[in-house]
Chain length 307, copies 2
């Protein structure tokens, strides 16, 4: 049976590109039978990456069959994976997020988690010298993953290893890092095709803070004005998204990649309280500007307080 | 704060030697402040290893403090770890067992699990060229771990990597593998100092099979007669151990390392039923001989059925 390699349910560049890279390695270097699949429609940046490097869009699956061999990359959170994941035959996990518990395997398998900015950086290290045999498309996907997750090295999650490996890949591909990253970010910034509810769920994680259930959404963009001009309807949509998803509030952070700052939308008094308690600033109006804030993992989640 | 490195609550050779090896690496190569600790008294083989390589017995701790930095080796099972482990600051996990779920970390950390016979084999790979700097005691401990977990390469869990690394360590140390392994197994086989209840809990894992709670105990020995002559009192002790530990039955497998076979003690009709259903043999009397069976992980757990 073919091993299905996938990331999480909201395929961004890393969760689209890393399955492609790792399925190539499993098939062509380790001699296994593996293919990348997606758990949803790739976001606009991931779609740009596929197009740019001439990669086929992986098949989108909605669940996995019991006993089916799978390898999981870029998450270890059952909530971000197919409903039947623990009934599948999990053969490997490669990730760079905190361990949340909940995944179970039938026997000892290969698991690699490292505190790096990007899954593709870990995959590159695991591939060792075999990376030389990878086709351009695989290397291009891996470079795209690292530039995406590090916001071209601007994010505080960036490590020396992410940087060094991205530069090595770019050099071999003859790609200008800053120029290519700009193209990627422009693709990510074009969100005109998405509804408000889609925007709120596009890059979103559920967290419980002091008993309050939050949906913490991030939109990374080079053109924040394009999103902020939809602020009123986004605020309206937050109510129904929260209700449908069983959350108490939706926190939407619009990250300006170029200015290196985030704007939090503040739709009501409870979010105002959360924002003031978490970021120790007073909120005037319905937005809060957070200079230097770019990373949910490093700069938002660790400080969130429920007011 | 010093990082405490530990294995599971029933310290065998791997759960005693691997913390010593990894704490050496963290302190001397990575420049962190780490020390090995134990979660219980080492077994007789582990005690022999400490003595043979002039290693100090690590301090035994009963729990960990909230926020204390820890690194876990040789298990990822909260049931085999200190009660407060999820309140500690887990900094790393290195293991070769199936993922059971339940451990949680505050951020992304270093996790390495591989389907190899021994934790020390994984540690050796992680150390890379730096292993050359390890003192004899650390290398001796790592060799002991591999010989113990592979039963000197007789166990079906043994991989080519375990074997190659053990031979590399033995050669550098000038140790005759077979002769040294015999000494280790003789130390493990001397169980005269232990009560029946201690024997039943010495190398034991709890498993639930089809709703039946089993304590599956293994005693690896070169002198099975020494244990079998205590059979009647062991059978008696199984009742109280099961009752105290909340298990329905205790299954004791006496593994003859040299003959490469196991003897299961059958104290009652329910264990007889489990034995016959699991191993597809009929039981006469109060023991069942299982030729070739040496590994709980590979040959016992996967076939257990609740009758």
């Amino acid at each position: 049976m073919t091993i299905q390699v996938f990331g999480h349910k909201s395929p961004d560049t890393d969760s689209t590109g890393s399955p492609i890279a790792w399925a190539w390695y499993l098939s062509n270097i380790r001699g296994e039978d593996a293919k990348p699949v997606l758990l949803g429609e790739p976001n606009t940046e991931a779609a740009f990456m596929l197009e740019r490097w001439g990669l086929e869009k992986p098949e989108i699956i909605s669940d996995v069959e019991a006993g089916a061999p799978v390898v999981i990359v870029d998450t270890n959170n059952p909530a971000e994976l197919p409903a039947s994941v623990n009934k599948a035959d999990i053969r490997g996990i490669v990730d760079h997020h905190k361990l949340v518990g909940g995944l179970e395997t039938k026997g000892p398998i290969e698991i690699r988690v490292e505190p790096l900015a990007c899954t593709a950086t870990i995959l590159y290290k695991m591939m060792g010298d075999d990376i030389a045999q990878a086709p351009k498309g695989v290397k291009g996907a891996m470079l795209s993953c690292i530039l995406s997750d590090t916001l071209a090295f601007r994010s505080p999650t960036t490590t020396q290893e992410d940087k060094a490996i991205a530069h090595a890949l770019a050099e071999e591909l003859g790609v200008d890092v800053e120029g290519y990253a700009e193209e990627m970010f422009a693709a990510k910034s074009d969100v005109s095709a998405f509804s408000d509810a889609e925007l709120l769920r596009m890059d979103s994680k559920e967290y419980e803070v002091d008993g309050t259930k939050l949906r913490v959404s991030v939109l990374e963009t080079t053109t924040p004005a394009q999103i902020l001009e939809r602020k009123d309807s986004l605020k309206e949509s937050m109510k129904s998204v929260a209700a449908e998803d069983g959350a108490d509030e939706v926190l939407l952070f619009i990250v300006d990649i170029l200015k290196e700052e985030a704007t939090l939308i503040v739709p009501n008094e409870r979010v105002k309280g959360i924002a003031e308690a978490s970021f120790e600033k007073s909120v005037e109006g319905d937005t809060l500007l957070l200079p230097g804030v770019m990373s949910r993992k490093k700069q938002i989640m660790p400080v969130l307080k429920a007011a």
